[in-house]
Amino acid sequence: MIVYWECLRGIVLREWLRFVLQRSRFLSALVRPLLWLLVFAAGFRAALGIAIIAPYDTYITYETYIVPGLACMILLFNGMQGSLAMVYDREMGSMRVLLTSPLPRAFLLASKLLATALISLLQVYAFLAIAWVYGVQPPPWGLLSALPALLLVALLLCALGLLLSNGIRQLENFAGVMNFVIFPLFFLSSALYPLWKMREASEWLYWLCALNPFSHAVELVRFALYQRLNLSALLVCLGLTALFALLAVLTFNPQHAALRKAG
């Protein structure tokens, strides 16, 4: 048992060191959602208020609406960046060093997922603190009730990133991930606009957004931030996290890079 703990501690510590040493990574993870909040949302301020939708009890400004979506955006980018790091690790061989550990591969990958997720949470809370100062203030206890939701969403997106990294053979292919995964997931979701607005524009766009797992992730966090449970979003996120993690472990092949080099 101690061996497992030591292994998990080592992997988390490595991610932590990487996070601390790469200050620019932390800053860029914060700057991105802050630009959306302070610039984009200011343009669409909706000073006259957005119609009431659950979980909100009254009228809100656009800034208030997009904060949960932007928190999830941090998790999304980190999840995908995790997949980039995984490809890098495989190419540089450090992943193979890790896999020389006698512990089960599933445990090692799960530890890696958890480590990336925990680091992501730090960034999310830094963002929520700035948003609080800016005036977006969910109930204080909501910040605590959002923690398990954020952790689950972080794991979900890291698992997705891990799964994708298994399909990426070269570092250069990461641009594809940006275009074909991050952007559609983010823009076709309830992160930036309520889904009823999408429905006014187009029924099929609405359904794409409604079925998008990222919408469920955003709504889970949004509800939790206001101390409510969105059960359907929770079940979808739990199910997908398990599915993606399982597929990631099953399809993981550290030989990809080695084979390519050998070839």
């Binding site: 301020r45 000073a47 006259l48 208020g49 009254t58 009228y59 809100i60």
Partner: protein, 321 residues
């Protein structure tokens, strides 16, 4: 013995709980009804049919009677809140919109919007005591806490009309900004606050001298100035805050009632007009006409905690303990 103590405690607890539960009555202008809101659960518990186009609402001093301006029925209806039945109708004059009750709990001063009149009705004898000529389209109405003054606003003449209640005569007029909609005395009757809807201002007056002390203006980031149209004004009894409903700006301004500095703007529903405090003044309710709801403001934190759907075009609101 212990069981009886427990039973007593539960009974007392229940009694306290019931005593704390205030009730709000909201007139729905386009539904000809009154929505009843339990302020404990913040749910609409009943909807009462009343006369046509109910607007201004008032409570008798003992909170047992609800006076309703049924504008298109051309009368003021009186509802017994114990039975929630209309028990009589008062001769109000044409198109009553707002009214105010004298501290003697008898004289009702009613604005007759279409007739440029203020009608004074004795609520006990149901007789019209006086009809006083005022400016065009009279609307806002308030009686000073000492009962000496009744002040009316006329929307088109842009004036406050000072009526001496001892003679029921108009004795003075004050020109204010365009379209004055509402007047409110502070608790000790020294200041009078008057909103001007088109002018976008609130004028604060010294009652003794009948002189203007301050004209307040409002500016909300991201909202066009034309939309800033002050209507309802409510003042806390401790003299700390004035709340000003800003109509289609969908915000309530919070003003420091001593320095006249605007402290904050609170986002509520669409086209907010009138407001009422709960008896403990811990919460303020606003009627949002276009969005058809009532927003609840927590006075201590100056945050909007909830908006409750009511009927179509909620207009007036009162709260009983």
């Amino acid at each position: 013995m212990r069981l009886s103590h427990l039973a007593c405690a539960i009974t007392l607890g229940l009694a306290c709980h019931t005593a704390l539960a205030a009730t709000a009555y909201v007139s729905n202008e386009k539904d000809d009804s009154i929505s009843v809101i339990d302020l404990d659960t913040l749910q609409v518990t009943d909807t009462l049919a009343v006369g046509m186009r109910p607007r201004g609402l008032l409570l008798s001093n003992d909170n047992r009677l609800l006076y309703i301006c049924a504008s298109d029925s051309d009368r003021v209806q009186v509802m017994d809140l114990a039975t929630r039945q209309i028990i009589k109708e008062l001769p109000s004059g044409a198109d009553p919109e707002q009214f105010a009750l004298h501290p003697n709990d008898r004289w009702l001063y009613i604005s007759n919007e279409d007739d440029a009149l203020v009608t004074v009705v004795d609520t006990q004898t149901d007789e019209v005591l006086a009809q006083i000529d005022v400016g065009v389209e009279p609307e806002g109405m308030a009686v000073s806490p000492d009962g000496k003054w009744a002040v009316n606003t006329s929307e088109t003449t842009n004036m406050l009309h000072w009526i001496d209640t001892s003679t029921q005569q108009l004795v003075d007029n004050t020109l204010v900004d365009q379209r004055p909609r509402h007047v409110e005395f502070d608790k000790d009757g020294q200041r009078l606050w008057a909103s001007a809807e088109i002018g976008g201002t609130v004028t604060v007056m010294d009652v003794e001298a009948r002189e203007i002390l301050k004209v307040l203006r409002f500016e909300i980031k991201g909202v066009h100035p034309d939309k800033v149209q002050p209507v309802g004004v409510k003042l806390t009894d401790d003299g700390k805050y004035a709340f000003v409903a800003l109509g289609p700006a969908n915000h309530v301004a919070v003003v420091d009632a001593k320095t006249y500095e605007v402290l904050d703007y609170l986002l509520v529903g669409r086209r907010v007009w009138h407001m009422a405090f709960t008896p403990d003044q811990k919460r303020l309710l606003t009627t949002n006409g276009v969005s058809g709801d009532v927003s609840v403001i927590d006075v201590a934190s100056l945050k909007v905690s909830k908006s409750i759907k009511v009927g179509r075009y909620p207009w007036g609101v009162v709260v009983t303990p």
